[in-house]
Amino acid sequence: MAIKDMQGFLAALDAAGQLKVIDQEVDWNLEAAAVGAMNNRVGQGKHALLFDNIKGYPRGFGIATSLFAGDRRSMWSRFALALGLDPQISYYDFREEYLRRLDNPIKPMEIAAGDAPCKEVVRFGKEADHLEFPIPYSHACDGGRYLTMLAMINRDPDTGWVNWGNYRYMIIGPRKASGSFNPTQHGPSIFFNKYEARNHAMPVCIAVMGDPAIFIAATYGAPAGVCEADIAGGLHGEPMEVVKAETNDLFVPARAEIVLEGEVRPHERADEGPFGEYSGFSLGRTLSPVFRINCITYRKNPVIPLVVEGVRTNDTQCFQSLQYGVSLYQFLTKKMKFPVRDVFMSPELGQLMIATDVPYPGYVQELASAVFATSYLFFFNWITIVDSRVHIHDPRDTLEELALNCHPGKAIHHTDLDPLNFFLTFNTPLQERIKGINGGKVAFDCTTGRLPMTHLPARATFESAYSAETQEKVAALWKRLGLDQEIETKPVFQ
C-alpha cells in the first residue's frame, strides 16, 4: 500500500528498523537540530529520528529529522522506502523504476474537507499562530526559526499552472514569515514576474510534509508548466488526495501535517536569514517578500519534518545527489541521446561526475556545454567526465581518473560566461553570485577516448586482474580466513 503521509512514512521506517523515537525532552531551540546534525555525521543513514517530547509543547507535537539522510553507499534507500520499494534495491534498479514513474504523472483527486486529515484543526485570523508548533531554531547563526521540508503552492494567473516547490520558510511573527525567493526558481518567479509586476497580492499555501512523494516531486526539478502534484501521483501510481484551501482557491495535500494559508503582497519585504545552508556556510541576510498568514489548518499531533542543513550527510545533500544525478541522466540520454552511462552528483558540495562513452572528437566539450545549459548550473561549478567503465559513485575512483587521465594543459575546458554556484564559491562576493557576473564553469576531461588505443595499458584492479572464478573463491574464503571486514567488489561497466 502506498505511503500517503508522514505517519505512514514513519511507520514504514519503524518497520524497516530505521527509526529511533526519542522520548526524552528535547529543546526545539538548537538542541533537536544539534542531535540531528550529529546523527547525519555519524549515523551512516541508519536511523531517522522522531523527537516525541519537545520542551514547551504538548506531547505528540513532534519533530522528525534525518528522514532522507542516507549512507553514501545507499543514499536512495529512504527514497525507495518512501515510494513503496524495497530499501535494499540497487541504485540502477531504483533509477530505472524512478524514471518510469516520473514519466507517468497522475493528476490529483479532490476529497471533501471533512475527510482531510490536514483539517482536523482549523485556526483563522488571530487564532492562527506559527508558534503553536515546535518549529525548530536550527543553527546559532540563523536569523529565525525555519521550516525546511514543505511545498509552497502558488498558481500562475495567466496559464493556471500550479507550482509546488520546496523553499525554506522563516518565521517572523505569529502570522508573518519570509523565505528563500530565488527568482530563478519557478514558484518565486511566478510572484516576481506576474503578481508583483502587476501590483497584485499572490495567494499562497505552504504545506508541511504529508506524503513524502510531495517532497521528492518538489525537489525533482520539473520543467515549468508541470505540477509537482501530478508527479507525486505518478510516483505512487495513484492520484494524490488534495483538498481546497479554506481561504483561497488553491488545493493542498489532504494529508499534510500543517497547511499555512495566506498571501504575498507586492513590494513588501522583510529581513530573511541568515541561514546555515546545505553547503555548511551561512548564506547571509537578504530582503525577501513576506508571507502574511490568515489561516492555519493541521492534523492532530503534527510532526514537523526538519532538515538540518550544513553537516554532511544531510537530507538535502542526499536529495540533490539523487535528484540531479537522475534528472541529468534522463536529460542527457533521453533528450540529447548522448551515450552516457551514469551521472552522479556527490552529496558533498555539488561536484558532478559523468561516466560516458566518447563516440567522436569534441564530444566531451559538447557534453559539458549541454550540462551547463541546464538550470542545474546553479548548483555546481565543475564537472568531471570519465570513461563509461568508471564507478563514479566512489569518489576515490573518480579522483584516480582525474589524477591519471586529465591532461593539465589539454583536457581542462573552462568558460567565463556562466553564473557561479549560488551557494558556494565564497571567494566571490554574494552580490556577484546573485547577479551571475564574473562567473565560470570548468569541465575536467578524464576520458581516454582522445588517446589512441595503443596508449592504454591493461588495468590491475581486483575485478580485472583476477578471473571471475578466483573472485568467487575469495568471496567464499573470506570469512573462513578470519577476516572481519566486509568484502567489497565493484560493478564492472564495459
Partner: protein, 99 residues
C-alpha cells in the same frame, strides 16, 4: 546554550548611530531569543551591557551570520504594532564588487 535577551541586525544600529550616541530612543525590530518571533519596539540602546535594572542583553548579528562577541544593552520603552507603525527593512550595508 542559547543567549538571553534579544538579537538585532547590525545594519539597524548603523542606521541609528547618531540617535544612539545622543541617547535618544530608536524604533527597531528585535528578535527575542526566547521565541525567535520578532517584535517592533521603541527602545533605548547603548553599546555595552552592564546588567543594570531594566537593561537587557542585545546581541548584534552581522549580515554574514556572525554574531558579535559582546552584547549591547537595550531598555524597551514600548512594544509597537507593526501593522500600525511602518518599519522598512534595510538592504545590505555594502555592495562590494571586486574587479
Amino acid at each position: 546554550m542559547p543567549n538571553e535577551g534579544y538579537e538585532i541586525h547590525e545594519v539597524y544600529l548603523v542606521k541609528h548611530d547618531k540617535e544612539i550616541e545622543a541617547g535618544n530612543p530608536i524604533v527597531c525590530e528585535l528578535m527575542p531569543l526566547a521565541t525567535y518571533s520578532r517584535i517592533l519596539v521603541r527602545a533605548h540602546v547603548s553599546r555595552s551591557y552592564d546588567a543594570r535594572p531594566g537593561m537587557e542583553q542585545l546581541w548584534v548579528r552581522e549580515d554574514d551570520g556572525t554574531l558579535q562577541g559582546r552584547p549591547w544593552a537595550i531598555h524597551i520603552l514600548e512594544e509597537l504594532d507593526p501593522d500600525e507603525v511602518a518599519f522598512e527593512p534595510e538592504a545590505r550595508s555594502t555592495l562590494e564588487l571586486k574587479s
